[in-house]
Symmetry: C2
Subunit: 301 residues, 2 copies
Amino acid sequence: MAPEPAASDFAALEANLEEKRQLVEAALRRLHEAGRSPQVAAAVHDSLFAPAKRLRPILSLMVAEVLRAQPEPVLPAACAIEMVHTASLILDDLPAMDDAALRRGRPACHVTHGQANAILAAFALLNRAFEILAVGWPGAPEAGTRATIARQLAGAVGTDGMIAGQATDLAMTDAPMDFATLEFIHSRKTGALFIASAELGALAAGAAERERAAVVTYAKNLGLAFQIVDDLIDVTGAVRDAGKDVGKDLKKTTFVSFCGVAGALQLAEELIAASRDALAGLGPRAQALHDLARFVVTRKR
Amino acid sequence: MAPEPAASDFAALEANLEEKRQLVEAALRRLHEAGRSPQVAAAVHDSLFAPAKRLRPILSLMVAEVLRAQPEPVLPAACAIEMVHTASLILDDLPAMDDAALRRGRPACHVTHGQANAILAAFALLNRAFEILAVGWPGAPEAGTRATIARQLAGAVGTDGMIAGQATDLAMTDAPMDFATLEFIHSRKTGALFIASAELGALAAGAAERERAAVVTYAKNLGLAFQIVDDLIDVTGAVRDAGKDVGKDLKKTTFVSFCGVAGALQLAEELIAASRDALAGLGPRAQALHDLARFVVTRKR
């Protein structure tokens, strides 16, 4: 296990996160195309450029760096993952899904732009993500590697991934849930794209299988911990901090409603410990990932 | 101009269409993956395997054949286009879009499976289409060619394509429309995937630019003519023939409401003539495409 970071290490992490966040923002703006419908363009733009942590693409860049690779060659692919994540948020908030009025501190996409444009915007973002991978970019990996990235992304999104998580979540609303189902839902709703992000970083670095497996296990546990902290913020935080409807998730079973606040916190800390354990074989070069894991579980509380 | 087909040529065409339709059905069943959510799996299955003409993948196969290529290597890609088309039908029928209760002679997806599962099914179908192209299949073209197919598909779907057409269609509901806007909408809602289908066939055949341009112009005009005939069937046909809510489109401007029945029919015939003119350089080997064009404009009336 790496040494615990001092307060100054979090300052370094925060600077690192902010630097990468700005890289991602700039790349997203280059990659975004308005197209011929002003209605859909506005819905996509508002959703994609609302203030956001950009944690998934940052994770890709950070894994690439930790594995000694330049992150730039995969930056557009990392942005494609963020586009898919944004699409999933638009869908989650729809009246037919979680029916949430606020997202990222602003009115949800369908509230501002109407349901039809929101649905088309989500569709457009998923489509654009795969278009970016198909077209390539200056310095992009060859078509075969981009196909591998597209395959991993599609697997994370598809009916064994995010879509299965969301559908199961909705099917279980108001129904008693066991822990395995709760974990199934969130490992897919949140974990799948975290894993795809880490895989992308490992691919960019030409990582050995042992390294790839390490960052995938890291990302899987990190994603679940991140979701639990989100649930905790929903219960204990203010709307301004969480940026979405606080308490909205309470009609559904969450880790907090299942384990209680103290139990959920303990679970998050166990998951963070597991995520850091997975990095053991990478040695001190993985420090930034250790810091990120500790940061995720201490944020906003 | 090729000679007019006799009645026996339509019989040959119908046998050709049915043979290719069965190839497509079988391939779709091989390519369909249920996944981990029974709700989404049922919604996808009902939508994808409702009785359907499969005209877009058939067009890909037919163009490949006319250009002297075996169609099998692109059959899964042709099925990916059909999956995207099916996704677009699910979305079109949603209450927030055209609010249609019937599709392909059966209750629309959201009526049977609920809006959330319908939206997730559409998302899953788009995602699966790109997954098929990313993963490849036995005998598939190399990754670079599959990336070209994915790029063309994404272009047809995206904010310059189908999505722009649908958003503009919705934005113009109850608004006065000029002919250019009507043409813009349908060249994107229907034309874009017809063009992508023809491009796929041309790519499979390693077609020269002149041949590619010919089948693209053919498909563009064929798609628009097909849409006009659809509008005509909506006005003049029975629900059982059209398989969807007859008259439902009448709250929106259609080619029929714009030009009248006789005018729309004349326009469809002019488009079919233009689509056949585009084939002139291909000579007699394009007979099947000539027959298909004539068939599209004479069907069900």
